[in-house]
Each structure stands twice: as C-alpha cells, then as structure tokens.
C-alpha cells in the first residue's frame, strides 16, 4: 500500500513557482525542532512519522509548518515531555496574551 506522503512518480499538475518569506511563527517552529533534535529530545524521523500519521486530509490541508508543529506537539505528548491539560491551558494563555496586546 502506498502511503499518502510517498508520492514519487505520481501524476500531478504543473509546478507552480511559488515561495514566501517565512513568518516569525514558522521560524519559531523550525527553531523548536532544531533544538529538540539537537538535545536528543526527539528525532527527525519522529517528526516525519508524526507528519505521515496526520493522515491524508491534514497532510493536504495544513501548511508545511502547521504540519510540523502538529507533529512536534504530538510527539512531545507521547514522550511525556508535555501534558494535554497544560498544553490546552498554554494555548489559551497565548491567545489571551495576543488579544490583550491587540
């Protein structure tokens, strides 16, 4: 069975020559990953596995770094580095902080 991310040789449309300068939050995702891999907290293959396991819908609907942070947070939950409840609270706190600053 061919998995969704394993696309070499499949038909697809023209290559659209798009690119964008990365936003600060995207660089932050990259930096978090680099630090976690460098410290041995997680491996690049755990990042990849997490992205592959998001499933076809998420793989195509999420942006590149949305897939990354989704995978990173899932791996950190699996490993017990983070807990679900504290992550829920931290997301709300981040939103509240952003709203207060607006």
């Amino acid at each position: 069975m061919r998995r969704h991310h394993d696309m070499g040789g499949l038909p697809a449309g023209p290559v659209e020559p798009v690119e964008h300068a990365h936003a600060p939050w995207e660089k932050k995702v990259d930096a978090i990953l680099r630090l976690l891999v460098g410290k041995g907290v997680m491996t690049l293959d755990e990042l990849r596995r997490g992205i592959e396991d998001l499933g076809p819908g998420a793989y195509d609907e999420l942006s590149y770094f949305e897939r990354w942070i989704s995978s990173i947070s899932n791996v950190l939950l699996e490993k017990g580095v983070l807990e679900v409840a504290e992550l829920g609270a931290a997301i709300e706190a981040a939103r509240a902080r952003r709203e207060a600053a607006a």
């Binding site: 070499g8 040789g9 997680m42 293959d45 755990e46 990849r48 596995r49």
Partner: protein, 100 residues
C-alpha cells in the same frame, strides 16, 4: 547488521517489494525494482528505529543506489537515459542473481 556492508559498488540489486505499515524511507516507486549500487555511504542509524524513539539500536549500512528511469516507468516510452539515485538501507536490498 553491524558486520559491515555486504554490497559493493557496481553490484546489481533489487529493492524489496515490502509494504509494511509504519515509517520507512524506501519510496514506493522503487520497491521491487532493479538498481545498481553506486556508493557505500556507511553505517547510519536506522530510520525505522529512530521514528519510534529507539536511538540505542545498531546502525544499518546505507547505500546510494542508481535506477534507470526507463526501467522504473517503461510505460512512459521516454527514450532518454535519465537516472534516479536514492539512499537506501541494506535490509531493503537483495542481491540480483546474474545469469552467466
């Protein structure tokens, strides 16, 4: 697995047509196809272990393997001698019997 590489540059190999679940780094389009060992990269951690956090397992030999595009997709009828090279783990390769 730690006994050193079993294939030599120039040797013909076939990629195993395995389809396990889980994280693997052997692309679907190469499985079951014949190629030639281009270079021995050396021992590297097995991505199939690393993907599950197992960082203490023995390394595996990795090879650069070259494939002819025409053999991968003969149905395309493209006459060019273009090639694809991928980096593959030893346990995904089997020796290809050569007939005398």
């Amino acid at each position: 697995m730690t006994a050193g590489p079993i294939f030599r540059p120039g040797q013909r190999v076939r990629v195993r047509a395995w389809h396990p679940p889980g994280h693997v780094r052997t692309p679907f389009y190469l499985r079951g196809h014949r190629g030639e060992i281009l270079q021995v990269v050396g021992p590297m951690p097995n991505p199939e272990d690393l993907a599950y956090g197992r960082t203490d397992r023995p390394p595996v030999a990795v090879y650069r393997v070259r494939f002819a595009r025409r053999e991968l997709w003969p149905e395309d009828g493209d006459p060019h001698e273009d090639t694809v090279v991928a980096d593959l783990c030893e346990h995904w390769l089997e020796p290809l019997e050569t007939r005398a």
